[in-house]
Symmetry: C2
Subunit: 430 residues, 2 copies
């Protein structure tokens, strides 16, 4: 076999990166694989669009059949995005015994498990490392490098847009709205930023990480998600004065076979490795029973970083083709998915509230918490901007989510409590 | 094939970890591999020593032949250390078609390339990810996850002992000697700390990383090494006041096919990801042409972290046995080793000197540097503790090592320069 023929779906940012990488690193790739990679067809929407890349017009097609039903093509590289239509296309490709490399987290979070099984039945590989944390080889590290360990917790900064926004809000003491606007102008945020800002993008990636780490089938609906649009400059300042940095953290953890997956603003001690991940960078912190703390850091998006992950996956597919071992990498889930209830989810919380500044207020509040067996590690009381009110900021010891929610409900029953302004998870410290 | 039989050489810290990990994670490992791993023999020095581990006495032997010449054994796991004798043992094992997993950086840095070739000839695998940065799957990430990229630079904190010592010296403002003593008492430094403290241990690991990243055969003799025993509290304080943290950094870089590998105390900007790696932790920062900046962080040593790497490698060996593709992972060097000369090694330098505190001194010094076309980014002049002398601390712009060495030689020709107290590489900033 002298060459492997690839059908590339999509010629946007990542697709262009893939074409460039295959061209620029041609010799090294050939040395490693012992064969050449040749792009046969490229699926695009617009055949006549002007493109910033030297590409043979003959390659271009807007007909998916010329890729997925083309007997000449060995591997489909899918970097065009979309969920349902793209899924049908990839299913068809797999049924035609074509291997798949995809960077499509949206699709993999929804159809991944079924597609992986279908591929295995057809002796095909599907690799999707580019779909989580761009250039960071995190899926491989979980499935190979840490294969012998039992992963207990993953904390990920897996969305570059929100990390960029929070970094700017923290470093430049600016509110959310203007920072989002700047991020949009710089291309770090989409025109419609909802999926990033409200945590959905991160949730999709956490699903993929959790399934691989815990060997289950956790669905997107199993992930509790909250985004960053409600974080205020005051939250950041209070967190900072208590020794914490606010990050949008995806958490996946397991205890006694029960899992919890969430994406939410989280306070981390300033010296936690994740607290120091700035701007649009991504990082995935993995805690394994045997290995302890590890972290994988790098660019979470971008043309060439993502292309690196795509082409590295493509090289793995080709190695497997040449060795005749395709379709062996997928391991079916070992455990039934069991989700933790609120009474089983334990963490610390940062709680910030506006209260009447009068004698007895503090005692009433602490009574509510005592009733729920909630105790505190840190308490800060400050006069607020409004007359005759004060702000109280507290950091609890480890409590269950149930204890938190009951306490908050009961706090609202107190006339001295005007508002629970915000509450956030606190993680990453003993 | 129902089980894979392993011969374990060494039952010290890591060997004990391997036995425990195989036992504790037995079910998961079996699920992933579809077969069991069985330890058949364990090579030890002392058959009768009391051990903190439940192990079948029948397994123990002090005769290597019972492992390497035992037709019953499929894989040798070598975690006993040593170079020449161990090399002979592993050679014999490979000739007997046994696969190898080793955590032995000393051996791999010296005999690695020959052993890898011998294994390939015998259709055997050798994996050694545990030998660099303990629990961090860095060798795999270079060879698989970043396979498609062209690695341009690696900077590694790959020795936990020195990082622990430098962290304590920095955070607690203590000198080298008492911190070393404390590290020895806590078990973070050996009774004879030379190999760690003087950088040799890190140099071995950098050789392995550089060979894999640059596809060459760089020998240990090609690495320039200096350790941390000469770093003073004043160096740390001056570096800090200029915005830098001192770390013992292994650097491997390539430009136009020429490489430079060194281990030396290096100043990094405080916000560089490596500057924030504390205590005994390791981290490897990888700069790839396409992917950009990535970093891999985790425990560099210890029983269970290293065992995780060993057993993950063992699982890879077994997967290959079961798929019938052993001996395919080694890729022979693609390029001839070409080392950079001093005129081709470019970086910034921190230079600290004691000078006479008299008119014209500063001009004489800057003249010396101007003659060598050396210019500065930062300059600090301070009165020294000794009368009529001052200290000057400078950080240069990018210069060649040749420019540095010539400047220093010429500075010693000036009567106003009493001593070049220290000079260090400055890296990690634009």
């Amino acid at each position: 076999m002298k060459e492997i023929k690839v059908g590339l779906c999509g010629l946007g940012t990542v697709g262009t990166g893939v074409v460039n990488l295959l061209k620029n690193h041609k010799e090294e790739i050939k040395h490693k694989l012992g064969c050449e990679i040749v792009i046969k067809k490229v699926l695009v929407n617009n055949l006549h669009k002007q493109r910033d890349i030297a590409i043979d017009r003959e390659w271009l097609t807007n007909n998916p059949d010329e890729l997925v039903n083309n007997p000449d093509i060995d591997v489909i590289v899918e970097v065009m995005g979309g969920i349902e239509d793209t899924n049908l296309l990839l299913e068809q490709a797999v049924k035609n015994k074509k291997h798949i490399v995809t960077a499509n987290k949206d699709l993999m979070a929804v159809h991944g498990q079924r597609l992986l099984r279908l591929a295995k039945e057809n002796h095909c590989d599907i690799f999707y490392d580019a779909s989580v944390a761009g250039g960071i080889p995190i899926l491989r590290s979980l499935s190979d490098g840490l294969a012998s360990d039992r992963i207990q917790k993953i904390m990920g900064i897996v969305n570059g847009t929100t990390n960029y926004i929070l970094t700017k809000m923290t470093d430049e003491k600016l509110p959310f709205e203007p920072v989002l606007k700047e991020a949009q102008e710089l291309g770090f945020a989409e025109a419609d930023p909802t999926s990033d800002v409200e945590g959905l993008d991160a949730a999709r990636k956490m699903t993929l990480l959790a399934n691989l780490a815990f060997k289950m089938e956790i669905g997107l609906d199993d992930v509790e998600v909250s985004g960053i649009s409600e974080i205020s400059q005051e939250d950041i300042t209070f967190a900072n004065s208590l020794g914490y940095t606010i990050k949008l953290i995806g958490i996946a953890s397991i205890n006694r076979g029960k899992v919890e997956v969430s994406v939410e603003p989280t306070l981390l001690p300033h010296d936690h490795p994740l607290a120091q991940v700035k701007n649009e960078y991504n990082a995935v912190y993995v805690y394994g029973e045997a290995v302890g703390e590890t972290m994988f850091y790098g660019p979470g998006a971008g043309s060439m970083p993502t292309a690196t992950a795509v082409v590295s996956d493509l090289m793995e597919v080709i190695k497997n083709i040449r060795l005749g071992i395709s379709g062996n990498s997928y391991i079916s889930p070992q455990y039934e998915t069991q989700l933790k209830q609120n009474t089983e989810k334990y963490t610390k919380y940062f709680i910030r509230m506006a209260v009447d500044d009068e004698a007895g207020t503090f005692q009433k509040i602490t009574n509510v918490f005592s009733d729920q067996q909630v105790s505190f590690a840190k308490i800060l009381q400050l006069p607020s901007n409004e007359k005759e009110t004060a702000e109280i900021v507290m950091v609890t010891h480890q409590i269950s989510k149930q204890q938190l929610l009951s306490s908050i409900e009961n706090l609202y029953g107190l006339s001295v409590v005007n508002k629970i302004i915000s509450y956030y998870r606190v993680d990453g410290e003993e």
